[in-house]
Symmetry: D2
Subunit: 329 residues, 4 copies
Amino acid sequence: MAKLMPPDPQVEFPFRISRFSHVEYGVRDLNASRKFYVDTMGLVVTHEDEGCIRLRALEERGHHCLRLVQADRADVRAIGFKVPDDSELDRAREFFEQRSLETAWCEPAFMERALRVRDPWGVPLEFYARMDRLPSLHQQYRLYRGVKPLRIDHANLFVPDVDGSTSFYGSMGFRLTEYTEDAETGRKWASWMHRKGNVHDIAFTNGRGPRLHHSAFWISNPLHIIEFLDLISTTGYLASIERGPGRHGISNAFFLYVIDPDGHRIELYSSDYQTVDPEHEPIKWDIDDPARQTLWGAPAPRSWFNEGSVFAGTEPVEPVYAGTPIVAP
Amino acid sequence: MAKLMPPDPQVEFPFRISRFSHVEYGVRDLNASRKFYVDTMGLVVTHEDEGCIRLRALEERGHHCLRLVQADRADVRAIGFKVPDDSELDRAREFFEQRSLETAWCEPAFMERALRVRDPWGVPLEFYARMDRLPSLHQQYRLYRGVKPLRIDHANLFVPDVDGSTSFYGSMGFRLTEYTEDAETGRKWASWMHRKGNVHDIAFTNGRGPRLHHSAFWISNPLHIIEFLDLISTTGYLASIERGPGRHGISNAFFLYVIDPDGHRIELYSSDYQTVDPEHEPIKWDIDDPARQTLWGAPAPRSWFNEGSVFAGTEPVEPVYAGTPIVAP
Amino acid sequence: MAKLMPPDPQVEFPFRISRFSHVEYGVRDLNASRKFYVDTMGLVVTHEDEGCIRLRALEERGHHCLRLVQADRADVRAIGFKVPDDSELDRAREFFEQRSLETAWCEPAFMERALRVRDPWGVPLEFYARMDRLPSLHQQYRLYRGVKPLRIDHANLFVPDVDGSTSFYGSMGFRLTEYTEDAETGRKWASWMHRKGNVHDIAFTNGRGPRLHHSAFWISNPLHIIEFLDLISTTGYLASIERGPGRHGISNAFFLYVIDPDGHRIELYSSDYQTVDPEHEPIKWDIDDPARQTLWGAPAPRSWFNEGSVFAGTEPVEPVYAGTPIVAP
Amino acid sequence: MAKLMPPDPQVEFPFRISRFSHVEYGVRDLNASRKFYVDTMGLVVTHEDEGCIRLRALEERGHHCLRLVQADRADVRAIGFKVPDDSELDRAREFFEQRSLETAWCEPAFMERALRVRDPWGVPLEFYARMDRLPSLHQQYRLYRGVKPLRIDHANLFVPDVDGSTSFYGSMGFRLTEYTEDAETGRKWASWMHRKGNVHDIAFTNGRGPRLHHSAFWISNPLHIIEFLDLISTTGYLASIERGPGRHGISNAFFLYVIDPDGHRIELYSSDYQTVDPEHEPIKWDIDDPARQTLWGAPAPRSWFNEGSVFAGTEPVEPVYAGTPIVAP
């Protein structure tokens, strides 16, 4: 069972991050991706050209939360975070430069300047303050289709050193909400961290990495996920169902994992809880507690533990800590 | 995929059955059973004495749909069917006598006379016309707890000869709604048959039998099943979750299977469809179509294919037709 | 509050009716009707020509449940009932002839012969045994749109003599499930009667009549009704929302009433309960009990008590029994 | 319809508020209040003595979100806000002192020091940084009862000068998300403001005030609200249903308003959306747009526009701006 640990000490953060914002995926067939993300899942196209489709979810006002870029192989090119205003970008640059991480300014379409940097393990990050704002769609109910995705919620990464990643992102101001600990060694097996006031903006799991385990969309009602399962299992996407539906012990989310045409994993995520209090105590799970993965007890398939999307330009490495192997059925 | 076959020919039925009505279970610990069925699932006790608890679901007016009887071993003592009026019982008796099946009159508590008989494979059946009627509870919403079971729906049996059972119950007036056929031999692997106008009152699956695979309760909303999973996984019943939640291809039901403290399997069953037209065409499923079991593709555990409750006084036998083995993961 | 009354005596019925089956509406603009019933509500077109659109709901196998016929004025041309086989039609004809009601055979498209007759108050009835059967759609989830209507459920009529109509339809085999009585006079103010085993196939309310108060479609989940409200209130159909959402005391249904482009009222109906036992005791409601209309207390608008669709060829008359006026807010 | 207006300019805020946190109600009968809030709504008692019941919702870790205090008359004694750490309280005190608003330190039970102050119109505010933290309950699903309230969400006040209140709370760092404007005069009729990243922590409506219009609890699923309506309408609380269920245009919330035994109004609130981006554009509604109140068109009852709870020690005054009267049906 979950136990409470003392809250994080309050620290001054070097720059402020508002929230996880977007992902850029390399995909091999834009038509197949559009069919999956737009026609089936129900995201909305906000811009499309020969090489890239940009999408937003139904309550988002920012221009896009997904960029699907025509590529020779499936990969992930950026994990995007929004900062509240432009001056934070300079503070962010300083933070990374102090840590000898190379930064670069760029101007992605539909954004003002963005800061690109790789974290110490090679994860490509993109920070920005201003993206084009679009009129609200959330009361145009004729647009609600598929799984009715309301907003992007978080990214979950395989990393070779969960303690290291947790500490590094903690120094950027991410707060720990839940974590899995190996009782024997005291090392973290996985951690969930947030900026925006719910369970997570980013999470880390021990494994060959860095690789993107999944990005997640927030769904307002478990019934939308059930109806989405009915839809995809009768429209040619049966094989894209990887795991679920179920309830995570960690995060309390009602979840479904699906695999896009390029093998990228998407979580459809409902529930979770509010964590805006800075003293919000992280919940500690023991690695041997099966309820942490699935409150209802059904094990995840082996693929869920092993497969992930590589980051362009970064070769994954084996975890520094082999740890207790998690054995899927 | 499912295919249509010509409708059943209209025949004159020897006696009329209204619906599947109740089950009598032998249980080894009435307290444990009450905790499961009443405190957890949410059925309502209508009578209780030292040896027996009688229960009804929330919209039922008949006195009981479950009888839990203190016993030395877990078994099933009766599968109960209601006939519309008393005179049908005499016609039923004639039907069984003509087939050399021994009948007996009895007077179960809270009922007028009932006819007891075993089907040709030894399944103990109980037919009755009048059971005590109780005031309606369905708008006493403070009683809605657990999975909010509204009514008993059907019984599903392992039988050694599905074609034989289907034909025998068909001669009693049960109508086929769906079935699984082994394309190679043309034999039925499983069949679903109804009297009350939905997908089934009784169903048969090929296997060592007769044994009761499960009895099922009708739940009005998939959300109640999701919330029941949350409840039982955090109140000591995690191990009772056997399979689900999922969507059956056959019957289109949103389902969950749980195991009671004696190993009896209960299905919590939502959705299905109306079948009151006598020419309603049965849907044929191929035994190799994975969607028939779970539209969403997740396989059932091995226990679901192998385990069932024995009928008191009847020794199960191996199926006459070994057929295509269904291999669970 | 509701009270139990002794069950209906068992009687031999002159012919058997399976269920309420369809309605034929006269509409003034087929395009507007298609936009409402197909594009918005989510019914499926099964045949369309210049003068008529035929529709079915998502789990129906019969060819149609609605016929929308181009007309000069909005009216209702037939209330359709299915009988289980052709021979019942001859028995039905005899029943009506004995009561000096003129009958006629006709052959509506997509049906074998049908019997047309007006009830003693002029309601045009259409009885048939065989309509074209179509392949099942209920697992083609890409077709689920709008309010996701699964099947037609019942018709509700204003009639000038509820006691008379209840008695007449009772003699046809309809069974009473709930009714409203004026305690002072002992007369029925409204009644609900069924053939198919749920709360009703037909219902009668005291008022200028006969007129059709509404026809109803069965919706499997209250959430679909909530989402339909979001949809229609943002796609130009706000004014079509007449009453609801709410819970009826009578029938226990979660309901919404909408008005089609011709003023025909449609109920979207979820919940209700099983009534297949012939001794099922009708629930009696007192006319002064506000919970009978809306369990949650919100009153219906005046239009709901006053407005209905006329039957072609029948002039409505004032009720024989003025009774307690029901005053809307 | 809603229109976008330019975003709030970024300003430096004088102190940081995390979120709306709690309300203290004066109630005349603690037993009646407990029956309503605990036994019926499903809040959890965290402390109770002769004069006060303290309650929390199911996912809250802070000690309480409601204090029900035995009193001679029904009133409201404090609107509570949490600040992220203790030093903010000194900055808050400075903010109010600079505006000549009298402040006082107090030590409410289960809290460290709190700052009490009245806003310029007499609303009693309570700011604190640390309240006792309790173990999480959100996965103890046996505790989920009634409407399954997850957390307190916001307070809504009648105020005599909406522009004034909006400006004052804006200077405290609350950000505008939606507002109603009288097109003729350009004055705000109502405004919604947040700190925690959803639609609101506090809202203001033009009217005799200050008075508390309602406090609101966040409910995760509209079906919980529907089932709560069934429960309260059959357990003696029918008269406590004031308005709903419905969908607000403003905030997009699925709502129900109920009245507690002392006349305090509680909103059960589901949906809304994320607003963490500081440039999130407020949505402007015209006062003549009926969709802003109820997307589905049903008007609110007159009581909803007129009745509210007085704040102890503050006499409400008429609005400075009579404005366009909003006429309820």
